[in-house]
């Protein structure tokens, strides 16, 4: 068995570690019967194996070893919250999914409206938008004009009285300043938006007041030359 003899170190180590195949084991036993040198080595190898086993027996880690390793790992390499992980966790919640669906629908709705150019908003929303728009216009108008606008509102209210008495007064005075404010209900929305209705109201306010003032004093309004006054427009 020259092969076994040449490789005796490997074979003996494998033999004491029970890593030999059946054929190798048989071949080794045959060789050990024939070779005294290898037989002595085999005995030493068994003693060596026993001594190493004794040395390492007391060095095995305790039961809590794995826990300590895990704890140390978690302490030394804490998990980092990346943006991707955060987004994935966020999308797992039902509320986020619903909110995302609502946002998507709104975006599609607005895109469709933008592409078609149609105002597809519901009436309630439309009215509220107009109201907010007119209030924003009021805010943009200077304060003195706002006061004028408030007076115009008063004037418009008074105008109804004026126009109600217009027949008598015009008969009596035979004059009119030629300015009659239209009721607020017939003022075009575009005028409200642009604020022209308010400025018109200011002018009307001044005119109506002048008429009333002169009427009280028993005078004829300016620009009235008797029967040549222009008729009051309704």
């Amino acid at each position: 068995m020259p092969i076994i003899h040449d490789q005796i170190d490997e074979v003996l180590a494998a033999a004491v570690h029970n890593e030999l195949t059946d054929d190798e084991r048989r071949a080794l036993h045959v060789h050990l019967v024939e070779c005294a040198e290898c037989r002595a080595l085999h005995k030493e190898e068994q003693l060596m194996n026993k001594a190493l086993g004794e040395v390492f027996t007391d060095e095995k880690p305790d039961f809590g070893f794995e826990k300590r390793m895990l704890y140390a790992f978690r302490h030394k390499a804490p998990p980092r919250a990346s943006i991707a992980v955060f987004l994935v966790n966020l999308m797992r919640s039902r509320a986020t999914q619903l909110a995302a669906a609502a946002v998507l629908l709104l975006v599609l709705f607005e895109m469709g409206r933008f592409l078609t150019g149609e105002d597809m908003s519901i009436p309630f929303v439309r009215e509220s938008r107009i109201a907010s728009l007119s209030s924003s216009v009021k805010e943009s108008v200077p304060r003195d004009q706002q006061l004028g606008a408030a007076n115009a509102t008063v004037a418009l209210t008074d105008q109804a009285k004026v126009t109600g008495e217009r027949g008598k007064e015009s008969d009596r005075l035979g004059v009119d300043n030629g300015v009659v404010a239209a009721p607020a209900s017939v003022v075009p929305r575009s005028d409200i938006a642009s604020g022209s209705a308010l400025t018109t109201g200011v002018a009307q306010n001044h005119g109506v007041r002048e008429v009333r003032r002169r009427t009280k004093r028993g005078e004829r309004p300016a620009g009235c030359a008797g029967n040549g006054c222009s008729p009051v427009s309704r």
Partner: protein, 184 residues
């Protein structure tokens, strides 16, 4: 031996490489003791071996992207542990390890039993082996691993371990001849 890895382990290694922390912690549970054996075989110091295992896992986690084949992850982590242990050993190698062990034994109370003395001699003989040999011996005797598992853990090719362990035990046998004779 790498080809013999089952698909579950391969999936676990692949997941760990891709950043699955739970998979990596599972690897820590399964590989802590083998890594301890590797480190202890080199350093022969329990505290230092534990530090090596901790550092190796942290380093492996931080640079796991370097491993392209999941089958090689185990061997790669073992290599990290071996290198780390070797670094520590080099740092304290101003005095040879076998002499350190002799000094440690001499620092004892002097009333050691013959078994203790023999154990010390075995440790000294072990310290003279190359690091890879020591790791292989420790995995075999500390973890009772079979050859295939040791080869897989150390990333060795099929059949290489037989020669390593044969040479390791032969070297120790020659050094410990008188002590072994006393054991008979």
């Amino acid at each position: 031996m790498i080809d013999e890895m089952d698909s579950a382990d391969r999936d676990m290694f692949r997941a760990a490489i891709h950043g699955d922390r739970e998979a990596f912690e599972m690897i820590i549970r399964t590989m802590s003791r083998p890594l301890f054996a590797i480190a202890f075989g080199i350093l022969q110091n329990r505290e230092e071996a534990e530090d090596v295992v901790q550092d190796s896992f942290v380093k492996a986690w931080k640079s796991r992207w370097r491993v392209r084949e999941p089958e090689r992850l185990q061997g790669w982590i073992s290599t990290i542990a071996r290198h780390r242990a070797y670094d520590i050993l080099r740092r304290r190698r101003t005095v040879p390890l076998d002499e350190q062990l002799k000094e440690f034994a001499a620092a004892g109370n002097g009333s050691e039993s013959p078994d203790d003395e023999r154990h010390q001699q075995v440790r000294s003989a072990l310290a003279t082996l190359p690091e890879l040999y020591r790791s292989a011996v420790a995995l075999r005797y500390l973890q009772n691993m079979d050859y295939a598992t040791i080869e897989q853990t150390l990333g060795l090719s099929n059949g290489a371990l037989r020669g390593i362990l044969g040479r390791a035990l032969a070297s120790m046998r020659k050094r410990l001849k008188p002590a072994l004779a006393a054991m008979i």
